[in-house]
Structure formats: structure tokens, C-alpha cells
């Protein structure tokens, strides 16, 4: 055949991979089951714990913003399963490239409580050492990190390594040239990269239909990249899908694309007012598909979780959120002159000159707390 309509290309894509139903029933899937065979009760509890902690710390971030301790927060509520499931599926030496909303990914990679808040507070642009967590700084420019991930993966190929690079981004990002170029490069070089698109149905106020009138997972195969649509609120399915994707990339078969279908329960950021563009009905409908309650229901059914365990997780979450709050409240802003630090890695006469002048200026004020002549 020499024509291809969207129907022909996408009729195959009429479903979403799922292993846990919204009410917590495990359904079997011959393709995905093998990838999560080892997920026994402790492992599932661990995933639940991760998600619960992400939810609490995320809520604390919102609270800290409302109380004026951080300038902004981009809530992840509702997206815990895709963030935790995919990040936990990675090896620690895989390198992950998150956007600004991947608080769950940061936590899973070992980010400290302070790492979650000091950037939003405006103390520094980013906190942790990317090489310590194998996690790039959160990216604000929509889509830019997808190319970095592909480049990193090309580096892995050149080193003969078996790490995988993972690019996280949203549904809105799929419209950016960079994300499409990333798919072109990844496909052309067969780079070991997994694209994880968290389709949370909204790019600020724009519904995903403005970016794409068809399932986003249908985009990648045209670039020569196999893709999967997965229930992004099902942490078991996300784990399975990501393990499949990682193995595909790790074994030299090239890039993979995952569309995780999820929902942003909160505002875009704490500055946003979602009541201007979406009704409560939609949000309520998604509440029934909550990633935490479904795993909790499953674990309660199987008797693998109980109130004691939940209380224990809650205590742990208390400690972590307290540490996060503490980090914000004790944050010390760096001295003025350090604003000039880190622009260049090597000596630079322009920075030297600015430093001399700015020091002189600061000194002039230090003397009498006011301008020299007044």
C-alpha cells in the first residue's frame, strides 16, 4: 500500500496497557506480566511507599509556597505512578533527564529534601550534583532535555556502555521541534534512550488535543521508534512498560517511546488557576483512578498492607517533609559577590573585571551602609 491514513497507522493503538484496575484488581497480560514477575508484596509495598512519600512531599511543596517560603511549585499530584514506576525501573547508572515536574523521579533517584525546595525558593537554579544521582538538573525549557538525553545515549554507545538515557517530558512538549528532532537523532543513531511522555492531559490551560488529535504514542513509530501507551496511574504497568523499554534500549535495539496516560490533579503550578479552563467534573472523574488508592486497595485485598504499615510510611513521610521544611527555613542566601560564581569553568578576564568592580561597590556600601556620597 502506498497511502497511510491516521486510521491505518493508529487503529492498532486502541488500548492502554494496564495491570491494576482503578479499583485495585490485578489483571493479567501475557506481554507485560513477565516484566513484573518479581514484584512481590515487599516490592509493591516499596512502590506504594515511594508514591505516598512523593505525594506528601509534593503537598508540602504546595504548602510551603502558600506560606511564602518558596516562590513557586509545580505539583505532581496524580502523576506519582509514572514517576515512581519508571524511575524505579532504571538502574542507578542509567542517566535521567527530568522536566520541572518530576519531583517523584528526584526522590527515587535519591534527591535530598533540600534538593526539592531550594531551587523553587530561588536560592540556586539547581541543587544536587547531577553525577551523584545520575539525574540532570530539572529542565524548564520545554523539550530541551530530550536532545541532551539522546546525546548522552550516543555517548554511551561510543563508550560501549550499557546504560540507558531517559527523557521525561509532557504532552505539550511533543509539539516542540526539539522533541521531534530528538526522535530523529535517536532513531538515526539507534541510541539507547527511552522517551517517557507523561500525558497529563494539560499543558497549562491547553488540553492535549491542541497538541495532538490522536494518541501521542502514535507519533513515535513514524520516526522508527516503537512505542507503548500505558496507564500512567498504574505503577505496576508503568514498571513493566519501563522495564520492557529499558531492556529494548539496553540490548542495542534502539530507542523506545512510552506515553503514560495520567492526569494533573492540581494546578499547572501554584501560580495557575485551573478553574478558568476546566471543570471539577473532569478532576473528580480522574480522582477515581488515583494511583495510590488503587495500589492500596490491591495490597489490602491481598493482606499485604495494613494500617500499621501505612502509619509507618506516614511517619517516614513526616520526617522527610519536616526535613524539607527545615531546609527551606534554614536556607541561607549566598553572599552577593557569589552571584558571579560559576559562569565560566576557566579564568575569564570579563568576570575578573566585574568581580573587581562589584567588590568595590559592595565595599563602598559596607563602610556606611549607603552610597559613598550620601
Amino acid at each position: 500500500m502506498y497511502t497511510l491514513t491516521t486510521d491505518e497507522a493508529m487503529t492498532a493503538l486502541d488500548d492502554t496497557a494496564q495491570l491494576l484496575t482503578p479499583d485495585g484488581h490485578r489483571i493479567s497480560d501475557p506481554r507485560l506480566d513477565p516484566w513484573v514477575e518479581d514484584l512481590d508484596a515487599p516490592a509493591l509495598r516499596a512502590l506504594y511507599r515511594d508514591m505516598a512519600i512523593v505525594r506528601r512531599m509534593d503537598a508540602e511543596g504546595v504548602a510551603l509556597q502558600r506560606q511564602g517560603h518558596v516562590g513557586l511549585w509545580a505539583p505532581a499530584q496524580g502523576q506519582e505512578a509514572v514517576q515512581v514506576g519508571t524511575a524505579r525501573a532504571c538502574r542507578t547508572d542509567d542517566f535521567l533527564f527530568p522536566s520541572y515536574r518530576e519531583v517523584g523521579v528526584t526522590i527515587v533517584r535519591g534527591g535530598a529534601p533540600a534538593d526539592l525546595v531550594l531551587a523553587w525558593r530561588g536560592e540556586m537554579h539547581s541543587t544536587y550534583d547531577p553525577y551523584a544521582l545520575n539525574l540532570a538538573s530539572p529542565q524548564i525549557i520545554i523539550g530541551a532535555q530530550t536532545l541532551h538525553a539522546v546525546g548522552y545515549a550516543m555517548g554511551v554507545q561510543r563508550d560501549g556502555g550499557d546504560q540507558v538515557a531517559v527523557a521525561y517530558f509532557g504532552d505539550g512538549a511533543t509539539s516542540q521541534g526539539d522533541v521531534n528532532e530528538a526522535m530523529v537523532f535517536a532513531s538515526s543513531f539507534g541510541a539507547p534512550v527511552v522517551f517517557v511522555c507523561s500525558n497529563n492531559h494539560w499543558a497549562i490551560s491547553e488540553p492535549v488535543t491542541v497538541q495532538s488529535r490522536f494518541p501521542i504514542a502514535g507519533r513515535a513509530p513514524g520516526f522508527g521508534i516503537p512505542s507503548m501507551r500505558v496507564d500512567g496511574n498504574d505503577v505496576v504497568a508503568c514498571t513493566a512498560a519501563m522495564r520492557w523499554a529499558l531492556e529494548h534500549a539496553r540490548s542495542g535495539q534502539g530507542p523506545v517511546f512510552l506515553e503514560a496516560v495520567t492526569y494533573r490533579m492540581g494546578p499547572h503550578t501554584t501560580s495557575d488557576d485551573p478553574t478558568r479552563y476546566r471543570g471539577p467534573g473532569e478532576v473528580e472523574a480522574w480522582r477515581t483512578r488515583d494511583p495510590l488508592t488503587r495500589l492500596e486497595a490491591f495490597l489490602r485485598n491481598s493482606g499485604d498492607i495494613d494500617d500499621d504499615v501505612l502509619a509507618e510510611i506516614s511517619r517516614e513521610a513526616d520526617q522527610l517533609t519536616a526535613a524539607m521544611r527545615e531546609a527551606v527555613l534554614t536556607a541561607v542566601t549566598r553572599p552577593a559577590i557569589e552571584v558571579l560564581d560559576g559562569v565560566y569553568a576557566e579564568p575569564h578576564s570579563g568576570i575578573d573585571r566585574q568581580r573587581a568592580r562589584f567588590s568595590a561597590y559592595l565595599d563602598a556600601f559596607a563602610d556606611d551602609g549607603a552610597a559613598v556620597t550620601r
Binding site: 531551587a119 525549557i141 520545554i142 509539539s175 521541534g177 491542541v210 573587581a356 556620597t373
Partner: protein
């Protein structure tokens, strides 16, 4: 006269332009139902409908590139770039297409496109949300660049930009969005000062401060403070950064003999360098001291908690005034 915030004045200007000319349309990310993240397009979707208030996919090159096509079809698109730091993906379309199409076609194709950019810092924002990219556009022939500093100009100059047959990059200082001022909503843009002209916002005799955007407020504060010390500063709001109204600027410097230029963008090859190079040429024999720049540092925009060291404040402006007046200042004795 009506008291309006700059934000509301911009909305009023857009509404007026759209009502006047049905070829005007606005497009960008989140400008429809949401009214834009700064609510500048608030209400326009209801009033003018989705054909003229277009929520676009999330792609700045796509926004500007399709706006070029709309212009070729005879529309006058007004594009909103959500924040200053997100204009760069559209840079190629702006530099190679928007700026060059008229020249490329010997004037046969006009691109009456307005690119609105919420602009600059001082609002405690995250990385990429406080950029001052104006020099890139000033350096690009074929574009006009304006920056507004008060609600009345916001209202008037926006309409002038939209009415202009050339592409205009229109900078809106974020930190003034909520500042109020008198606006004459009935004024005809034809009666207003043409878009390319600067304005002396405060006359003075001892030194000239040239600036634009939110720094106009800082400069006026500095002039007020200086007055208490018996120093008379003339403050000029450039309004148009490309072209620069050198007639007004040089007339002032010929009078005062001393010049300070201040802006929030970094200094290296910035707008202040341009003003100083041109004024030095035009007024060399009138200059009593080296013109001084008071600009942002030449660094990536810093984290919010440090931005106050970056944005020139009243003290830094006054320190430079001292410098051009040969009074003791922070650089006295420092090798330049």
C-alpha cells in the same frame, strides 16, 4: 482618563486594535480560555472568538512561523511569547524570516507582525522567566523594537505597533504589570507621538539618564533622590530601542554633558553600549566625562534570591551619576 494597571491597559489596547481592524488576531500559548499567564488577553476569546484568539500548540517557532504565513495572507498577527526566556526557539524564524522578508522581496511582502514579550526580572521567578533579550533584536536589522514603561504607552504604543507595517518586537516589563497610571482610552493613536520617539520624562541639567522599561521608574527615583542633593538629572525614556531617537538623546547630552545609560540586560554588546558609542560620536565635544553604563551583570540570569544584585537599583544608578559628575564613587581608584 482612566486609572488602569499596565496589564489592563495592554488588554484595552489589544481589544481596541482588534475591534478597529478585523485582520488583527492574537495567538500564543494559553491566551484563550486562560487569558494568558498574565491575563493580558483576558476576555478576548469571548469577545472575538477562536478564529481571532488562537491557542496554539506549544512551539514558539511554530507560532512565529505560522504568524508569518498569516501575515502573507493579509492578517496582522499579534503573537504572545509566554515569557522572555521562551523566545529563543523562535529566533530563527524571527531573524531569518520576520526581519528579512520585506528586504528579500524588495518590499513586496510586508510582515505586520507584533511579537509581545512579557519581559525582564524583579518578580522572583524561576530560571528563564526573567530574561532581557532585547539587544539580540536591536542588533537585527529589519525589526523594530519597543519597550513600554507606563500604562498610557502600553495602551498607545501597542496599537501603534499593531498598525505598523513592519514587524515589531514589543517588550512588556513584567514587574510593572500591576502598576497603575492614567490612560486616555479615547486618544487616537494618530495624535500620539510616533512610535519611534523617545520622551524626556523628567527634565534636568546636570546629567542625562537614558533608560527604558521598568528601569524608567528606577531612574526617576534616582533623579528624585539626587534632587535632594541639589543634582538635577534629566531622565529619558527611550520607548523605541530600534530605531533609537538620537535626536532627543543627543540634544539632552549636549545640554548636560554627562550621560548614564541603565538597563537590566547585561552590558556586553548591549543597548547601553550602542547608545554610548553613538552619543560619544555625536556629542564628543560636549562630553565632560566618560558616559557610564549601569547594567545587569554579564552572567546568566541569577536565581531569584540573588537577582537584586543583578538588576541595577537606585543606589547603583546614583553611584554612576557620581561617576559622570566626577564625584567620589565606588570606582574611585579602581582600575577600569
Amino acid at each position: 482618563m482612566t486609572q488602569l494597571t499596565m496589564g489592563k491597559a495592554l488588554t484595552a489596547g489589544l481589544r481596541h486594535a482588534m475591534a478597529d481592524d478585523d485582520r488583527v488576531l492574537v495567538m500564543g500559548e494559553d491566551i484563550g480560555r486562560l487569558g494568558g499567564v498574565f491575563r493580558i488577553t483576558d476576555g478576548l476569546l469571548d469577545e472575538f472568538g477562536p478564529k481571532r484568539v488562537v491557542d496554539t500548540p506549544l512551539a514558539e517557532s511554530g507560532i512565529v512561523g505560522t504568524a508569518v504565513g498569516l501575515a502573507m495572507r493579509g492578517f496582522r498577527p499579534v503573537v504572545e511569547i509566554q515569557f522572555d526566556g521562551f523566545v529563543y526557539p523562535a529566533f530563527d524564524q524571527i531573524v531569518c524570516q520576520v526581519a528579512k522578508l520585506h528586504y528579500r522581496t524588495q518590499g513586496r511582502v510586508t510582515v505586520p507582525l507584533t511579537i509581545r514579550i512579557p519581559w525582564a526580572g524583579g518578580v522572583g521567578a524561576a530560571e528563564h522567566h526573567s530574561e532581557s533579550p532585547e539587544a539580540y533584536f536591536v542588533h537585527t536589522a529589519g525589526l523594530r523594537v519597543v519597550a513600554v514603561s507606563n500604562p498610557q504607552d502600553a495602551y498607545t504604543v501597542l496599537q501603534q505597533a499593531i498598525a505598523c507595517d513592519d514587524p515589531v518586537v514589543f517588550f512588556e516589563p513584567k514587574r510593572l504589570y500591576h502598576t497603575k497610571g492614567e490612560v486616555d482610552l479615547d486618544a487616537d493613536i494618530a495624535d500620539a507621538a510616533p512610535m519611534g520617539l523617545a520622551r524626556v520624562v523628567r527634565p534636568g541639567t546636570d546629567a542625562t539618564i537614558v533608560t527604558y522599561g521598568a528601569q524608567v521608574t528606577t531612574a526617576l527615583d534616582a533623579a528624585q533622590a539626587a534632587e535632594d542633593e541639589g543634582i538635577s538629572l534629566e531622565v529619558i525614556d527611550l520607548r523605541s530601542l530600534s530605531p533609537v531617537d538620537y535626536r532627543t538623546v543627543s540634544a539632552s547630552v549636549r545640554k548636560t554633558g554627562r550621560l548614564v545609560v541603565t538597563h537590566e540586560a547585561g552590558g556586553e554588546a548591549g543597548v547601553a553600549a550602542e547608545i554610548i558609542a553613538s552619543v560619544t560620536e555625536q556629542c564628543f565635544h560636549y562630553l565632560e566625562a566618560a558616559p557610564a553604563r549601569v547594567t545587569g551583570l554579564d552572567i546568566p540570569y541569577p536565581p531569584a534570591k540573588l537577582e537584586k544584585h543583578h538588576i541595577p537599583d537606585l543606589d547603583r544608578v546614583l553611584d554612576a551619576v557620581d561617576r559622570v559628575l566626577d564625584r567620589p564613587n565606588s570606582l574611585t581608584g579602581v582600575e577600569l
